[in-house]
């Protein structure tokens, strides 16, 4: 599914009533009203659901979503579903979508929830979710819903209900072939070969397009061939097998079946051709391995014991080689790192709904091709992948907590020093002295202004001159000064008084300005001291150490649970993979035994004068 369609579907799931545009590549029609919501969307549109969910939950907890609050929870439900948290999504949808909401298209949400429950094998939960669906927004989605309901009802034996849903599917629905195939498989499992062949044969009449549909038809032809063989209709079986495309993943089984159908009619010459074609391929699949025994068996039936012996020897060697390879794969899946074996390490996808399958490629996985493509194994691989990514995130969280611990400790240290040195008190003392000086100066200025005393406002140089004049006057009183000297002293005093009077207004203005500035400065410093005291008080009572320790404790708990889950999840995957490989090992051992017995038998026959 293209990115555009994914976005439209998810957006349809959660954002229909939101004010942002949802179509891929389209322009935003309106700016979001909350930065937190906008950042959530930024990660959401990149399908980075962990980051998007974190942003949204932060915005929810800090009450920063504004007008988007109403839809944020729905968005969280949709993203939880995409992130493989369908239980969480179900809780949210149950709470918010049980009743129709204007402008919110909830049917898609319920549909995807049901689909994921179905994929998980939880039929009851799938049924419950699908019951909420009324009408889906697109014909494609509606058809998938009808198909899912048909399948669910068939599985539960409610055929009338299944037929009702089936009748809603149009003749060209891409889901019809899947239904016919499932019905054929159901009847084949019960041994009802004729009914099975009927359903498989129906696919022959459908016009199919696309590789997925053609592969399904190949699968149906192959199954139909085997069903026809079981019913004893070998010509029909040959005809069904012959319809399978050689490029199809089913071609190996079809070639094998075609040979058996010919063999069943004693036409071993015709059987040889498909089996020999298979024989040329690597003996990884069950079909190729079986052909290794089928070819010499056919030669025996044709009376060519010598050629049969050579082919049995070839088969025995191939089985031995494959046994070794399968044993290596068993050893690898028993002890090696599953992230490497399953190619999970580099997989950064978060998307469970449309993320596509995980297809690991290495020496071991060809033996598990069928197992790996199954829903259950894919789900289990996604879970293990997500758990390992959680492990990485917890490791990052531990580093972030470590940084915060250091920062908090350093900040606490500097605040402690501040308190111990009592910087605020020292500042207050200086502030008090400053205030006293201001008041003294104010008093002096007021006095000078009231008395018109210019000398009180004189500059430093003028005051120095006055001091020299006062000293000279004092000396003149002790000494016998001449009238001339008395006159000069009076002249100097007159000059100084004149100077004071001349600069009185200017000095008064300058002193007032200076006093005003000092008063403003004093007020500012008072406010600064007050702020410092407030911050000190808050800081002492609200250290982050407790919060950091609490998070650290939660982190340790989560790490413990995570490691247990990784172990359990990995163990389940290993078990099923090793079990599958052990079955192959047993089958290979059996085939090896059969080929060796056949070789011995043919040698015995030769020694008794037979053909070899």
């Amino acid at each position: 599914m293209s990115l555009v369609v994914i976005h439209r579907l998810i957006a349809g799931l959660c954002l229909l009533a939101c004010s942002v545009s949802a179509g891929g590549g389209e322009r935003a029609t309106q700016t979001v009203q909350s930065l937190g919501y906008g950042v959530t969307l930024y990660h959401f549109y990149q399908q980075d659901y962990f980051a998007a969910l974190t942003e949204l939950m932060v915005a929810q907890k800090t009450d920063a979503l504004g007008v988007h609050s109403e839809h944020a929870e729905l968005l969280r439900g949709g993203m939880s579903l995409s992130y493989g948290m369908d239980t969480q999504a179900q809780q949210i949808f149950t709470e918010l979508l049980s009743q129709p909401r204007p402008g919110v298209e909830g049917d898609s949400a319920w549909f995807y929830l049901g689909k994921m429950a179905w994929q998980r094998g939880d039929v009851a939960r799938a049924e419950t979710a699908l019951q909420h669906v009324n009408a889906l927004p697109s014909p494609q989605l509606q058809q998938e819903f009808d198909y899912l309901q048909t399948t669910l009802n068939v599985r539960q034996g409610n055929i009338p209900a299944a037929q009702q849903y089936l009748a809603r599917l149009p003749a060209d629905s891409p889901w019809l072939p899947y239904h016919y195939y499932n019905m054929g498989a159901l009847h084949a499992a019960r041994g009802e070969w004729a009914e099975a062949a009927g359903y498989f044969g129906t696919m022959n009449r459908l016009e199919l397009a696309g590789e997925e549909a053609l592969s399904l038809r190949d699968r149906a032809y192959t199954a139909a061939g085997f069903a026809a063989m079981a019913a004893g209709d070998y010509p029909r079986a040959s005809s069904d097998f012959a319809r399978v495309r050689l490029s199809s993943p089913m071609s190996e089984r079809a070639l094998l079946g075609y040979g058996w159908a010919a063999g069943a009619q004693d036409d071993y010459q015709s059987a040889l051709s498909p089996w020999q074609t298979l024989n040329q391929q690597a003996a990884v699949s069950q079909a190729v391995r079986e052909s290794l025994l089928a070819v010499p068996y056919a030669y025996e039936q044709l009376g060519q014991q010598g050629v049969a012996l050579v082919n049995y020897q070839h088969a025995a060697q191939a089985f031995e080689d494959e046994l070794q390879a399968v044993n290596r794969a068993i050893a690898a899946f028993s002890r090696d790192d599953l992230q490497d074996l399953l190619g999970l390490r580099g997989d950064q996808r978060d998307n469970w709904l449309f993320g596509g399958d995980i297809l690991p490629r290495n020496l071991q996985t060809p033996y598990l091709r069928q197992l790996i493509s199954s829903h259950a194994f894919q789900m289990a691989m996604r879970e293990l992948r997500d758990l390992h990514r959680m492990e990485q995130r917890l490791a990052q969280a531990a580093q972030r907590l470590q940084v915060m611990t250091i920062v908090d400790r350093e900040q606490q240290q500097s605040w402690t020093e501040l308190i111990e040195q009592d910087r605020a008190s020292a500042l207050q003392q200086r502030r008090t002295q400053l205030q006293m000086q201001i008041e003294s100066l104010q008093h002096k200025l007021s006095g000078a202004e009231a008395d018109g005393d210019g000398r009180a406002l004189a500059s430093a140089s003028q005051i120095a001159l006055w001091q020299r004049f006062d000293q000279a006057t004092a000396l003149s009183k002790k000494m016998d000064t001449s009238p001339e000297q008395q006159f000069r002293l009076e002249l100097y005093r007159g000059l100084l008084v004149w100077e004071d009077a001349e600069h009185y207004a200017q000095n008064l203005w300058q002193n007032r300005q200076a006093l005003q500035q000092l008063a403003e400065l004093a007020l500012l410093s008072e406010q600064a001291i007050e702020r410092l005291r407030e911050t000190q008080a808050q800081r002492v009572s609200s250290s982050f150490a407790g919060d950091i320790a609490a998070l650290d404790s939660r982190l340790a708990t989560q790490n413990g649970r995570l490691q247990l889950a990784i172990s359990a999840s990995g163990q389940a995957l290993r078990q099923v993979a090793v079990s599958e490989l052990q079955q192959q090992e047993q089958a290979l051992s059996l085939s090896l035994g059969q080929s060796r017995l056949a070789i011995a038998r043919l040698y015995d026959l030769g020694s008794m004068g037979g053909a070899p």
Partner: protein, 171 residues
């Protein structure tokens, strides 16, 4: 039909029809979902604490970026400076631009500055009208107080001027 090969094709039929294996354990499914939810909650609380401790409101400056463009400007990169010092330089991928164009908002920068006046300058480079190289800057003088400062750099298409417009919004 010979009994030697009959069991083989029966096995093959079963192989065609029933290819899935059963390895689901419901309790493990639930446990994994619970772990995911709890790790998300832990990450949320960590994020909030980080913001409070490392970027307290009295010094915090957060800069976001949003787009409503398409016709007149294709963004390549943004360079953000605070008081003449480059604090971040960001190059955009196609996926990030798509997310921005559809209404997403990027948290471009989060840092600490002192109280008082500061100059914020953002330089945008990309392709402008008619696909030509385009480089524009926008500047804003802000007054940082004891409240956290959030700025949104906005790039919008101006239909009247047939040019992109660059602006800064204070939240």
């Amino acid at each position: 039909m010979n009994t030697f090969i009959r069991p083989l094709w029966v096995a093959a039929l079963l192989g065609v029809l029933f290819s899935s294996a059963s390895l689901r354990a419901e309790s493990l499914d639930q446990e994994i979902q619970t772990i995911k939810q709890q790790v998300l909650e832990l990450n949320r609380d960590l994020f909030i604490l980080e913001e409070e401790l490392l970027f307290p409101a009295n010094t915090r400056l957060s800069v976001f970026l949003s787009l409503d463009v398409g016709e007149y400007f294709a963004l390549d990169a943004v360079k953000l400076s605070v008081d003449g010092e480059v604090v971040t330089h960001y190059l955009y991928t196609e996926r990030q631009l798509d997310a921005l164009q559809r209404g997403g908002v990027q948290r471009l920068f989060m840092g600490n500055i002192k109280s008082g006046q500061h100059e914020i300058v953002a330089v945008f480079t990309g392709r402008g009208p008619k696909g030509r190289d385009y480089r524009r800057a926008t500047a804003l003088l802000i007054d940082k107080t004891s409240v956290g400062k959030n700025l949104e750099l906005k790039i919008i298409d101006s239909s009247d001027m047939r040019q992109p417009e660059f602006s800064v919004k204070e939240w």
